[in-house]
Amino acid sequence: MTKQNIFSILIFTFFIFTNSFAQKVGEKAPNFIGTNFEEQEIKLEDFKDKVVLIDFWASWCSPCRKEMPFLVELHEKFKDKNFEIIAINIDQKESKAKSFLKKLETKPSFPMIWDKDSKIPPKYELETMPTTYLIGKNGNIRFIHKGFKDSYKEEFLKELEVLLNEK
């Protein structure tokens, strides 16, 4: 085995184990079908031509709990402007998610998928919880937020304005 071959195999091995396959900005948002707590079907493709915010959350994730009231606020503010939020809950127990939602001052009025078997997160190859994707009207991922901090709120507003003003 030549030195060059060894080097190539090492590089290959390194990339196999370190390369991230997570969805990136500019790529088409993978379609998904899920059901809400009332077992009604929700599909991403039903929201074509809208700016869509996809949020992966769980009641056991502290920053997700922090983010939810902000998402409710955001939805109330922009829902009449061709904007929709799809929240994907990955709690294994429905009661845990519902108990958290019950405690919210304003209840979310946007579609909420209960993905108890976590079938959707692998399609997006999440790297952390929560992860929030802003999808443009053409169905492409335009902005990704990993985690949640108060400082993200301003960024969300700016990004939303950009996307909503696009044709």
């Binding site: 990955i90 997160p121 692998p122 919880m129 929560p130 949640f148």
Partner: protein, 72 residues
């Protein structure tokens, strides 16, 4: 095995393929349970750390918010 580089390479490949598993972010429900905090009284410790964090202005300085969900 004829030469040393091949042995080293084999060892390297084996070491990267065995023993490690990544717990995906969506699989961390059990890890995020307070019971996973390495302490005799995990819930008490959580409360104590919470108070300490705010008193000292050191939120996040003692690690994750709970057991280990690795939430961003």
């Amino acid at each position: 095995m004829k030469n040393k580089p091949t042995k080293v390479l084999l060892l390297l490949v084996l070491s990267t393929t065995f023993g490690c598993a990544t717990v995906q972010p969506w699989e961390r429900e059990s890890l995020s349970d307070p019971i996973m905090i390495f302490d005799e009284n995990p819930i008490d410790k959580g409360i104590l750390e919470h108070h300490l964090d705010y008193r000292e202005g050191s939120v996040g300085g003692t690690g994750g918010q709970s057991g280990g969900c690795g939430c961003g």
